[in-house]
Amino acid sequence: MIKKGIPLSLKIRPLITTIIIIIIVIWFITPLILITLSAFAAPKDYYQIDKVIPTHFTLNQFKSLFFGLQAWKAIVNSLKVAGLTMWLSFLIGLPAGYALSRYIFPGKNFLKLFILATRMFPLMVLAIPLLIIFMRIGVSDTVWGTSLAHTAMVLPMIILISSSIISSVSVEYEEAAMIFGLSRTQAFFRVTLPLALPGLAASAIFAFIISWNEVFVSTILTLTNRTLPAHILKTAMASPDYFKFTAGFIMALPAMIFIFFVRKHLVTMWGIALK
């Protein structure tokens, strides 16, 4: 028997796909929308029990958080720590990533394994001894101390990610440049680096976000120079609810903006970083 028209399964399929898409999007987006609403909602709307969606909005929470509750200082600290971590991990990690990608040498696998092995130990384990060491060398409770610890956490990932990004730039360009008389260093800076730049920028942002989000070590290592997550962890649960939502929103905002810019590299980067 010959069927006429489109089979039923082909008609239902797009419908099911659409329904699943809607469920996924609602599940992942709702908490973000709700925290945004709450971050700007006037406290009287929040405490009005029959008002589900707030209608009065204010910037008062932001003002008091920034100036009254010293979140401003914490935000600046967080930016400094994350920025320093980003630069440090690149400065130290990029040459090794390059070596991993472009050279074949005895002991390469061992070095790779060593780097991977350091990732086995969570910062929770390292936090206490790091505090003791930092107190001795005088960087405890400073922006530097926190970013030194964060760099230790981010560095292995940056080495592996940057090596894979450099590998994606064909070695032939580099060889061609060297045939034309450039040294290997020149070839790297003038040929490979510009080509690898978008990917490297994405991984720099990745390092930034990981440091920006890290809460455990930041809280252990600092007392006065706290980063934002550490500040929230220490003070949030004692403050009124509406401050918590504003703080949560401020923490989430840069992450949401950044991930938009790195969305092309998402699968590659996190795929490597989580291996």
Binding site: V171, W212, N213, I232, A252, A255, V267, G271
Partner: protein, 287 residues
């Protein structure tokens, strides 16, 4: 790269590796030795197992250990299954799948702190869930999820939050492995008349198995580090291992106990990673 290797000095790659090597030895290797040293030293500064004896006699330690395991059991399997389904769905490459991929990956960039606050925003007594349910007339009084004696409710809120926050992490690993499966396999299967289920069980599943295993083990490793969400949503009402490291150090300034808890987490991490390496190695031998 072979063409010009000969005229270059052999030590260059080692030189390039030297800075991170020194850094990691200084900031990971040395602290680890320090943890060992602190853990196995008594208050008088002699080698002893005193810290472990104190730890194992402390009922909080066992509670923390148990709770961490409970979280692991409640979160990880469900998370891996959900992530796998999501990855399969996205990999079917429907129209606009990139946008959905972007939406799913937003939680990747969020910290556990903001995820916890988002969830608090929904589940607290004046939160959206309670207000909504009351408005619709399903309940008369708000349901309390947080607070003293409510830790079993808080437990499930934490599980839900972790599912929301960290499923994308597993999803990304699995998607990366699904994307590299060659279409040739499926075309060949088509020729042999395989149906959808057969394709899944004979091609997709075996080829993603290594990633599935690695995702499972990584999540297990991370589960022992769970901290931010639990600490913000329940404080010490639900003691967990990482939370005790924090509590001992930040609240009691007892760095010995804090290091001992840290040592336990490290020990568990090593065992899990060792298990992981054994599994991977057996894979290599099979091939």
């Amino acid at each position: 790269m072979i063409a010009f290797d000969s005229r270059e000095k052999k030590w260059i790659p080692y030189l390039l590796f030297l800075p991170p090597l020194i850094y990691l030895i200084g900031f990971v290797g040395y602290p680890l030795i320090k943890v060992l040293q602190i853990t196995f030293t008594s208050v008088e500064g002699k080698f002893s197992l005193e810290n472990f004896i104190i730890l194992t006699r402390d009922s909080t330690f066992w509670k923390a250990f148990k709770n961490t395991l409970y979280f692991l059991i409640a979160i990880v399997p469900l998370q891996v299954i959900l992530a796998f389904l999501l990855a399969l769905f996205i990999n079917s490459r429907f129209k606009g799948y990139m946008t959905v991929l972007y939406v799913i990956s937003i939680p990747l960039a969020l910290s556990d702190v903001s995820a916890a606050l988002m969830s608090y925003n929904i589940f607290t007594s004046h939160g959206f869930l309670n207000k909504f349910l009351m408005k619709m007339g399903f309940i008369e009084y708000p349901i309390y999820f947080f607070g003293l004696g409510l830790s079993s409710r808080a437990f499930w809120v934490i599980v839900l939050t972790e599912l929301w926050r960290a499923t994308p992490l597993v999803f990304i690993i699995l998607l990366a492995s699904l994307q590299v499966i060659s279409k040739d396999y499926f075309e060949a299967a088509e020729v042999f008349g395989f149906n959808g289920w057969q394709k899944f069980f004979h091609i997709t599943l075996p080829l993603t198995m290594p990633s599935l295993q690695s995702a499972l083990l990584i999540r297990t490793l991370f589960a022992f580090q769970i901290f931010g969400v639990v600490w913000l949503l329940s404080g010490r009402d639900i003691p967990i291992l990482a939370g005790e490291v924090y509590y001992q150090q930040a609240e009691l300034s007892n760095f010995r106990m804090a290091a001992t808890y840290g040592f336990i987490i490290a020990l568990i991490s090593i065992i899990i990673s060792w298990f992981y390496i054994i599994l991977l190695r057996s894979k290599h031998l099979e091939v």
